[in-house]
């Protein structure tokens, strides 16, 4: 059984006035125990909103409009209060880009670990000063920080160290799933590489499942096993990370890849993606990428394609992942029920 099984997740933002903005539309996602999945896409594609939805961290004006989220067999989409809090312990955690700024500036690192450990304590936990200090030091060691950091205030630490502390705080609950939302975007490239290395090592050693949300295809491909490419609130491709740079893919994935190049190559050429992402307040028919797609055909403007097998994964594209024969009808039914 998958650790996390999301079905038909839709999230809308409700601005004070005006139209609803559909940030996530009817997303299905399943995550196995110990799997490391990346979600990649440009700003405004709904990747962070999806991460928040999966960890039940959505706050108004965002609202989970539809969908079921089964975590370890329990539907967490409808949980509230104490029962949701209980799920969080040994359950799921979220590490934010701004996590490094989310540390309380007037409390030492030690006290922040103490707060988390006490808030989620179970009967039998050692909550003595020494016990908490010992467990905090172990957690800091896991994120490759010296125990001396415990005595520091957040402003005395560098950005990379602060992000490591917030990863350590997330580990404190021994979660089975950690969602990392742009964990290294605010960091310098060299620091980013080191923090990503730590995340990857932790994930492999401890065996938790992880979701890495990033705008940077390079970061995602280097860290994860499987990549979900999001566009305009939908998952347009779901493919093993190793196969992204070869073979046929969703045209958006290919376009995204063409924006990168190897600076060491003899000839370097990078491309852009013309046009703009669609307006998410209007739920039009058709593939959301069709207006910018070099391969678009007539059907693309009329029907939103479902995820269909392509290469080693699945893609939502009429042209690349054309469903064979009998499955066309089924796909159309599914597409209709979406819109």
């Amino acid at each position: 059984m998958a650790l996390l099984e999301a079905r038909g997740v839709s999230v809308a933002y409700w601005p004070s006035r005006g139209e609803r903005i559909w940030a996530v539309r009817d997303v299905d996602l399943s995550l196995e125990q110990g799997e490391f999945v990346g979600i990649v896409g440009e700003s405004g594609c709904g990747k962070s909103t999806l991460g928040y939805a999966l960890t039940r961290m959505l706050r108004p004006p965002a609202r989970l409009e539809a969908g079921a989220i089964a975590f370890n067999g329990t539907d967490i989409a409808t949980l509230h209060g104490e029962r949701l809090r209980r799920q969080r312990r040994h359950g799921f955690a979220l590490v934010l880009q701004s996590g490094m700024n989310a540390l309380n500036p007037v409390r030492t690192v030690a006290r922040q670990f103490g707060d988390v450990l006490k808030a989620h304590a179970e009967p039998g936990d050692d909550l003595s000063r020494e016990g908490i200090a010992r467990r905090s030091a172990v957690l800091l060691e896991a994120v490759q920080l010296a125990p001396a950091v415990l005595a520091s205030y957040p402003h005395e630490l560098s950005g990379g160290m602060r992000q490591r502390v917030s990863i350590g705080l997330a580990l404190a609950l021994e979660p089975r799933l950690i969602v990392f939302d742009e964990p290294t975007t605010a960091l310098d490239v060299i620091v980013q590489q080191a923090v990503m290395q730590t995340i990857r090592d932790l994930q492999r050693d401890r065996g938790f499942s992880a979701v890495l949300i990033s705008h940077d295809l390079g970061v995602v491909l280097e860290a994860t096993d499987r990549v979900l490419v999001m566009y305009a609130g939908e998952i347009v491709e779901d493919t093993p990370a190793a196969s992204v740079t070869s073979g046929l893919h969703h045209p958006y994935t290919e376009a995204l890849l063409a924006c990168y190049g190897d600076p060491r190559a003899d000839e370097v050429q990078i491309a852009g993606i013309p046009g703009q992402p669609p307006d998410l307040s209007v739920a039009g028919p058709g593939c959301p990428f069709a207006p910018r797609c070099p391969l678009a055909e007539d059907i693309c403007a009329a029907e939103d394609p479902p995820l269909t097998p392509l290469g080693d994964g699945r893609a939502a594209c009429h042209v690349r992942a054309r469903p064979a024969g009998s499955s066309v009808a089924a796909a159309e039914v599914e597409a209709d029920s979406v819109s």
């Binding site: 601005p15 004070s16 006035r17 005006g18």
Partner: protein, 313 residues
């Protein structure tokens, strides 16, 4: 000749008119347009609209006082200590003056002092705040010290002392005294906001565009603080209304002027509650509260003033 339309053809020679934003927009002078747009922005906020309506009614009453008031506010032509009746709706004072008419005319003084002192205090706050915020160093240190001093000295006792020593005893004395004691809060807020905006990239960008200091301060920084300036104006005005009433009530104003504070002062002097003239106490008090509430309500809408994104919706 160019015909100005909402969307001119791309190659239209823009003689005299640069690219028009709105066909009607260019004919109205800048400051008026600014005030109009600010009012429209405030109007779009429910609470601020309620405040604007109440303030509008009070202003209308103040301007039209001779028409609204049934009697002269100063004429001692009635029997003193009268309770409310059909002639003197709110009763009369111990000197035989009509309380309702006093209330109507009193709106003038309260508005004048409130808006006047609020205005003077805001001008002082903005000037000192901009200078201190844009010129860190010795100037900022000195101004910061003065501001902090003005903040910690209790305002009412200072006002009482100032009013007691100043000779004139006119409404303008009160305006200046109230302004002198209420600029500091706004100044601090504007100083710190200026210091923040000064380091923003669009200010650096303006330097690279060859802008001179004055233009950077007044065209780049100040417009981004419109909401703060408006907020400190309305806060100062609210405080000024109360301060004016307090000073008059304590007898430190000019007893000859008719204001809501002097009505309260007379009510106190003449033991109005003992003579059963409860309206003489209640009415000016309510009027003061109503004016303060209207200014506070307007303050709810000022956030949108320097945020074009909020303004649009």
């Amino acid at each position: 000749m160019t015909i100005i339309t909402a969307t001119p053809p791309p190659e239209a020679p823009g003689r005299g008119v640069r690219i028009p934003v709105r066909a009607s927009g260019r004919a109205i002078p800048g400051p008026l347009r600014f005030v109009g747009r600010a009012l429209a922005t405030l109007w779009s906020n429910g609470k601020a609209r309620a405040g604007l309506i109440i303030l509008g009614v009070i202003i209308a009453i103040a301007i039209l006082a001779p028409l609204v008031a049934p009697h002269s506010p100063t004429a001692t032509s009635f029997a003193p200590y009268k309770g409310p009746d059909s002639v003197n709706w709110f009763g009369t004072t111990g000197n035989g003056q009509d309380v309702f008419s006093q209330l109507v005319y009193g709106a003038r003084v309260s508005l004048l002092v409130g808006l006047g002192a609020g205005g003077v205090a805001t001008v002082v706050a903005v000037t000192l705040g901009l200078v201190a915020g844009y010129r860190p160093g010795v100037v900022d240190e000195i101004l910061g010290f003065v501001t902090n001093l003005a903040l910690v000295v209790p305002a009412l006792p200072l006002m009482i002392v100032l009013a007691a020593y100043l000779q004139g005893r006119s409404v303008w004395t009160i305006v200046l005294v109230v302004a002198f004691t209420s600029w500091a809060t706004g100044c601090r807020v504007i100083r710190s906001q200026t210091a923040t905006l000064r380091t923003r990239e669009f200010v650096t960008s303006a330097v690279f565009s060859g802008e001179r200091l004055g233009r950077i301060v007044f065209r780049e920084i100040l417009p981004n603080m419109t909401s703060l300036v408006a907020a400190s104006f309305f806060s100062a005005a609210t405080a000024a209304v109360l301060a004016e009433a307090s000073l008059e009530f304590l007898g430190l104003g000019n007893p000859a002027t008719v204001s809501w504070g002097t009505i309260l002062y007379q009510a106190q002097q003449q033991n109005a509650l003992l003579t059963g003239q409860w309206l003489m106490v209640l009415a000016p008090g309510l009027a003061i509260v109503l004016l303060m509430v209207s200014l506070t309500l307007i303050n709810f809408g000022v956030d949108a003033l320097s945020n074009p994104r909020l303004r649009e919706k």
